[in-house]
């Protein structure tokens, strides 16, 4: 099938089997920031936004992505710069393999995700083997605070 979408704000066209995963499609197009981990929806390193929802791109079929507005980690500096900054400044990473997924997941958080407990539940499907999660949770809280400030400047 011919898949037409917007990826990171730009038009995107790819000739792919409808049953290929969005992950394969994106990586095949050189967007390798999105990682392949478990391929069964559990680890979250493949998280991307599809029409503003966080999805496991390893499970998401290319056919369903046709016509969608897709954002990957490569677009986060534009789409959610405060999240990227928060992860850099809070050192919310070690090896970095989970980082693209963590950042995209945090970028998808609504304002209802406020405290540490909310963040931990929201991110429970984004595994990290390195950090013990403390700095990731801090980065997420920091990003949420920055975004609240951006929406409603004090």
């Amino acid at each position: 099938m011919k898949m037409h979408a917007r990826v990171n704000g730009s038009p995107f066209v790819a000739e792919v089997p409808a049953t290929s995963s969005l992950l394969e499609v994106l990586r095949g197009a050189g967007l390798t920031g999105t990682k392949e981990g478990c391929r069964i929806g559990v680890c979250g390193v493949c998280t991307v936004l599809v029409d503003n929802r966080p999805v496991s791109s390893c499970l998401y079929l290319a056919g369903c992505a046709d016509g969608a507005d897709i954002w990957t980690v490569e677009g986060m500096a534009e789409h959610a710069p405060s999240v990227v900054d928060a992860f850099v400044e809070c050192e919310g990473m070690q090896c970095g393999i989970c980082t693209p997924g963590q950042i995209v997941a945090v970028a998808s958080m609504g304002p209802d995700v406020r405290d540490e407990r909310d963040v931990r539940h929201y991110l429970s499907g984004n595994l990290c083997r390195c950090t013990g999660y403390g700095t990731i949770v801090e980065a997420a809280l920091d990003a949420q605070a920055r975004r609240r400030d951006e929406v409603a400047p004090a």
Partner: protein, 751 residues
């Protein structure tokens, strides 16, 4: 915190690239025209391979070849492969020894085609009796996994050993232990078990090899010890060292894994064989069920104290399941250094450690964060609580009385000028009592308060680890094009922040802005040597090398490139203690264990990058928590039953306990930057601290990990009076000792 000199802790060198997806990892590299390799793997644990029928696979469009061991042998000879013991073929020859072992490789133009075709290769087996239990494997009458393991290059066993012995390690004096325990006021002897586990890195292993003119080959991939891999690959393929080049790329975590030499060497062989670039990328499930895993253990501990609760003697007899090949283990003994050092933390009149690793027809076992130490600490630190209860002293008192202080001689005879066991233990307890807010005592992700009927318990455990003097490494400093300085390193950034440490330290030593220092891993052709990432040696070795590099740079005028190669340091080693206090709540009706908090006190010297340092501590504790409560690869009947992350459950952000850390500062470290290693510290005592807390909460002792709700439930509700269900079925009690002892004497163990 005492800093040797002022440091700037700017963002990590790799932070922004990692946060924007720009960092390229092994799987992100795909050379033009590369063939994709998919491995046909054994589905049975032990069998002769009678025939491989690749006709259906070869009929698929896009498949270029199906390569077998014979094809490789014709080209490269029949050298086996291994880091220390060279006992593993690149592909199985005639016989498979574990389910998951590579038998053939499909090469195709896309990964999908290669994988689809691999599924069509038909292997005909004649099944042999599997060898599945490490204790039985070392006893008489067990089928042999290898005909004559003592003949392998690098073998650490001889013909007098049981034929399924991979390696053994003997420390201390068992006769003295018998004598001292004979006059101890209290002695306990208990057996503990731990399961097989995966390192749990989220980046599956992947390698790409490209042929180079003149029969050379370049390899890039998930490799944490490039210079060592180069030696192994060259040796196995009959190439000159210079003919193999390992190119730089960061790692998505290793935790002791990614040191294997067989798969990357296979990838290099395929590229040379096909004369095309070849990419061998493992799927996560394949990585978990066909590469290497943590050693399962059966550990018997005997420990005794006098009437006042002062420790007298410790005996540890361990039998580990080493799996089908010893090839992944790197240390000279081909055993586990965590076992060698396991009696380090306490003053003892006598000790004995015997560790036997058996060949079985299961997944080969390799290294995972502080190899051997978590298994040993779970056993020893659990047994100490059992001894405390027998002696009628508190577990804390028992430990405090026998930990090392400065000037003490340890059980091995080494006198430490600094040893801060009591300070570290007390710091942990004090912090546990003084939680700043009540919620810090609760798991931060928990939605509901803990119901009142649950039983609370607290457990303590200790671990002591030496920081060795700096090991050999090499660095190069050169002026860059843009006025910056470029420092070249021989090993990958695995996530620990080591490249940032180099930048910061060098900038500080040269008095320049860290922004003006660029850090680059370079390929093996460009620097003299490095032993690779592992054994917590990186920060120590690096900081020493950075200092030499800086002085060399000044000496030479600061304009020309300089290279340093450091020898192994001669500094005295330093000792770090880690004490953990776990608070748990147990649902008596279900056995569910909720670990509310783990407080860690770590005995440190200088801390170079506080957040990176903290993540080593937190990440280690979370890994310890996973080992304690969740993780089990479930190797049964020679198959891995949990070969994916849905089954092998790693801790999530919502599951982890509240983590608090106190640093016992002001310690004397190693090397010019005065550091103590921290990467393999906090994951070690966690399981025992939690098990001790569960025992306090329930009055029942579970001696097998993971501490699942079900195990605790049967301990509480089974008919076996406090033993776990598994333990009740355990006919092997006392057997670990007999087997380990028999092995040490050069006998076969009992039936």
């Amino acid at each position: 915190m005492t800093l040797a000199w002022p440091r700037v802790a700017g963002p990590r060198v790799d932070a922004r690239d990692k946060a924007t997806g720009a960092t390229r990892y092994s799987a992100d590299v795909e050379p033009e025209g590369a063939l994709h390799a998919a491995v046909v793997r054994s589905t049975v644990p032990h069998a002769e391979v009678l025939a491989v029928d690749a006709s259906a696979a070869l009929a698929i469009r896009g498949v270029t070849a199906v390569v077998t061991a014979q094809d490789l042998e014709r080209r490269f000879g029949d050298e086996l492969c291994g880091r220390r013991v060279r006992d593993m073929p690149l592909l199985a020859r005639d016989k498979v020894r574990f389910s998951g072992e590579g038998i053939a490789v499909v090469l195709a133009t896309t990964r999908q085609v290669a994988e689809d075709a691999a599924a069509l290769v038909v292997v005909e087996y004649r099944e042999l009796t599997p060898v599945l239990d490490a204790l039985a494997a070392l006893g008489p009458g067990s089928p042999r996994v290898h005909e004559a393991p003592w003949r392998y290059d690098g073998a650490v066993v001889d013909q007098s050993h049981p034929p399924n012995l991979q390696s053994e390690l003997v420390e201390g004096d068992p006769v003295a232990v018998d004598e001292v325990l004979g006059r101890a006021a209290h002695v306990v002897t208990r057996t503990y078990r731990t399961p097989s586990g995966h390192q749990g890195y989220l980046e599956p292993q992947c390698w790409t090899a490209s042929p180079r003119p003149g029969g050379r080959v370049a390899l890039l991939g998930t490799v944490k010890a490039p210079y060592r891999l180069r030696e192994q690959t060259a040796k196995t393929l009959g190439l000159a060292l210079e003919a193999v080049e390992i190119d730089p790329v960061p790692l998505g975590g290793d935790f002791g894994g990614k040191g294997g030499v067989v798969d990357p060497t296979l990838c290099a062989a395929l590229a040379l064989w096909a004369n095309r670039p070849v990419r061998l990328a493992l799927r996560a499930g394949e990585d978990m069920s066909a590469t290497d895993a943590r050693h399962p253990s059966v550990v018997e501990v005997s420990v005794g104290c006098d009437a006042d609760g002062a420790l007298l003697a410790l005996r540890v007899d361990a039998v580990f399941d080493g799996g089908a090949y010893a090839a992944v283990k790197p240390i000279p003994s081909a055993n586990l250094h965590g076992m060698a050092e396991c009696a380090l933390g306490y003053r003892l009149e006598a000790f004995s450690v015997r560790s036997a690793i058996a060949y079985t027809t299961t997944l080969p076992k390799g290294h995972m964060r502080a190899p051997g130490a978590p298994q040993a600490a779970f056993a020893i630190e659990s047994a100490l609580d059992e001894l405390a209860s027998a002696a009628g002293v508190s577990p804390v008192e028992l430990r405090r009385r026998s930990v090392l202080s400065g000037g003490d001689r340890d059980a091995y005879g080494h006198v430490w000028d600094e040893a801060r066991g009591a300070e570290t233990l007390d710091a942990a307890l004090e912090a546990a009592d003084a939680a700043p807010r009540p919620e810090d005592r609760e798991r931060p992700g928990r939605r509901r308060p803990v119901p009142s009927g649950w039983r609370r318990g607290r457990g303590v455990a200790l671990y002591a680890r030496p920081t060795a003097p700096p090991a050999t490494t090499s660095l190069r400093l050169a002026p860059g094009d843009d006025g910056r300085l470029v420092v070249e390193l021989p090993f990958p950034e695995t996530g620990t922040g080591s490249h940032s440490v180099v930048r910061d330290e060098l900038a500080a030593a040269l008095g320049v802005d860290p922004e003006n220092v660029e850090v680059r891993q370079v390929s093996t052709g460009l620097l003299p040597y490095d032993p690779g990432v592992g054994a917590s040696r990186v920060t120590v070795g690096l900081t020493a090398a950075v200092h030499q590099l800086a002085s060399r740079w000044w000496e030479s005028g600061g304009t020309e490139a300089v290279t340093v190669e450091t020898g192994s340091g001669t500094d005295r080693p330093a000792l770090s203690y880690c004490a953990q206090v776990a608070d748990v709540a147990v649902d008596p009706e279900t056995g569910q264990v909720l670990v509310s908090s783990v407080v860690t006190a770590a005995d440190v010297a200088s801390v170079l990058r506080p957040r990176s340092h903290r993540m080593q501590i937190d990440g280690g504790t979370v890994m310890g928590y996973g080992f304690a409560c969740l993780e089990d690869l479930l190797e049964r009947d020679g198959q891995v039953w949990a070969p994916n992350l849905a089954e092998l459950r790693l801790p999530t952000a919502a599951d982890v306990p509240s983590l608090r850390t106190v640093l016992v500062e002001g310690g004397r470290g190693v090397g010019p930057a005065n550091v103590k290693a921290v990467g393999e510290l906090t994951n070690v005592p966690t399981a025992a601290a939690i098990a001790n807390a569960v025992a306090e909460a329930t009055g029942r002792r579970v001696r097998q990990l993971p501490l699942t709700a079900e195990r605790v439930f049967w301990a509480l509700h089974g008919e076996t009076g406090g033993e776990t269900g598994d333990e009740a079925r355990d006919e092997a009690r006392g057997e670990a000792r007999n087997v380990a002892r028999g092995v040490a004497r050069g006998e076969e163990g009992p039936a």
